[in-house]
Symmetry: C2
Subunit: 359 residues, 2 copies
């Protein structure tokens, strides 16, 4: 049975309010959680509420954050998230990047002392209504081994770019710098299937197709898979995201990113504060007339959409097509949650006496 | 027999002067050609002089360009390269990005009406001495098929990031958004070897390991190789580079990028002017004290360099290590050129009566 957007929104915001966030902040965060569900990226959706709940239980989330700008120029800033739920510093930072772009042409914000913020694409897409290109990156808990390394040193470190068009829907790329996300490991394990090769390695750095290898000190591989197929380029991408998000802001980098699950202890060594993000906003008319650019983007999109499909495939996709089509469908049909997720949410619902289960 | 840097520099600059460029511009371009040789990226080195020579023969290069800024804000600009050799607009644009960053914190330049500029890393690295992060991208002739497509629609569209450190050498990533570059196809064909899978497809979009498939209407695959291994992410990266370089500047995008070889005709359809690049410069102290950042970069680099190697490997590399070590070695030992390249250069040398062959 699918759940309605409205019900899950009220539920999510209600839980955050019970934790101690104010209503405005809770609604803002709920919107990001639910955007992931609508776009069909349920791995980053309401299931993550449990992670925050557990972190809240052990007092690792600041409920009354003083998010502030610690350094700035006309086109840049560093923001300190004051150790709260990642959506709040992320929204603050992207809004700041957009504001700076209005004045200086572009705005760039590196954010420290934050935590998991949901889907990167959400923040990049905030730029679209301002006729700007939006950019967002974040580092994350170490799961990925650099090329030639046996150790997990980087997160799945996603990159998002949102670029406006005129009559066509916008170009929205939002992707981890690994071949697959962690959810695919869990799913293969649940189904009793092998993972296939090119995704993971064991604790000594040898190729592995075991979907539970991450729990056995194994690690994920960067985009490219192995050196021969360009994994050093995926490693470069993950490293760039880590440096722009964490070294530039003063957050913890690479292997020192704090775990986003309460059952893992806070690390002894710190190289900065919390987790880091990076945001960019570029005003189109800082380069050319916005309407002309958007018309050209329509032409770009149409050209690529009309490329000849490979044998056995129906059509060539534009980045963002799948998620946009998901959103249209899921808004109509409702949001399906896995039984395991429902069970977790019910526990939290009971704990706070917030109603859950209306469809 | 290796050639000395000095000899090949004088030769390259000498040829460009004979073509009709002034001495200052010729020296600037020769430095970029030779930088590729020193860094061991000979596919983008002096061998490309033949391409320009052939384009010059048919009058496709403007020898007296008026490179100009056509639009700007405090942190952005669009530059028109006036249809000349790519190095000149690229150097002009990156210098402009650096100048803008000095005033506004960051500088971003999108450049149209240019041509092949050599190695992207050269321009990104220009930012380092200013305590800035340097970024460079370019589009290129269409060789790469988007995921699910049978048609080559994108170039190998490289991305370069140069990030300064304190006592450690800088982080310099410079990579095509494909698993391998075109040179690997040529090399495998020459050796009579199969290419392996994950690199190319035939004209119908079926996997191919034929190293001469590009001459049979086949195409290269994006980083990731196939959809299962994340080729849609490589496609996203190539598309982002194309849009930032060409749509934002008003250059030709994707399949309409003009061929960089004289034997291919100029395309009937144009979507802009020439080929496009994108440049960025970010002043470190627009985010935090530069010396503190660079110390943290030392820590980042040391942490990753000391990661435990995978079984069978000696060490974990930092982006830029291989090219820097090449440069030290090649400066000492001299530059080796393939016999085929030497033959081509000798033809050009004879044509212009510029001496070639001193070692």
């Amino acid at each position: 049975m699918p759940y309605s957007y409205e019900h899950l929104f009220e539920f999510t915001s209600g839980i955050l309010i019970k934790m101690g966030f104010n209503k405005t902040d809770s609604d803002k965060c709920a919107k990001v959680f639910l955007a992931a569900e609508l776009r069909g990226i349920s791995t980053h959706g309401i299931t993550r509420l449990s992670d925050y709940y557990k972190l809240w239980e052990v007092g690792r989330i600041n409920l009354k954050p003083q998010i502030k700008i610690v350094h700035q120029t006309p086109s840049t800033a560093v923001v300190d998230g004051d150790s709260t739920i990642g959506m709040l510093p992320a929204l603050f930072s992207m809004e700041l990047a957009i504001k700076k772009a209005k004045d200086a042409g572009t705005g760039w914000v590196s954010t420290r002392n934050s935590s998991n913020f949901g889907i990167a694409g959400y923040y990049a897409m905030m730029a679209l209504e301002h006729d700007m290109i939006g950019i967002c990156m974040t580092n994350a808990s170490p799961l990925v081994a650099p090329t030639f390394s046996a150790d997990a040193m980087l997160g799945t470190n996603p990159i998002a770019f949102a670029i406006p068009a005129l009559h066509q829907p916008p170009f929205v790329a939002d992707f981890a710098t690994t071949p697959i996300n962690r959810g695919k490991f869990t799913f293969a394990a649940m189904m009793g299937e092998n993972l296939g090769y090119g995704f993971a390695q064991d604790q000594f750095g040898n190729p592995s197709d075991d979907p539970s290898i991450l729990e056995k000190k194994g690690s994920m591989l960067p985009l490219g898979g192995d050196r021969e197929h360009g994994s050093h380029k995926g490693y470069c991408l993950g490293a760039i995201v880590d440096i722009m998000s964490a070294v530039l802001s003063g957050a913890n980098f690479g292997p020192f990113v704090p775990p986003m699950v309460a059952y893992l202890p806070v690390l002894d060594k710190k190289t900065g504060e919390g987790l880091g993000h990076f945001f960019g906003a570029m005003r189109i008319d800082a380069f050319q007339e916005a309407s002309h650019f958007k018309l050209k983007m329509d032409e770009w999109i149409t050209t690529f959409r009309n490329a000849r499909p490979a044998e056995g495939y129906e059509r060539v996709l534009i980045p963002g097509d799948v998620e946009r089509e998901n959103e249209i469908r899921i808004r109509k049909e409702g949001i399906l949650l896995k039984p395991k997720v429902v069970d977790e949410l019910k526990l939290i619902a009971d704990r706070f006496a917030v109603p859950f289960g209306k469809s």
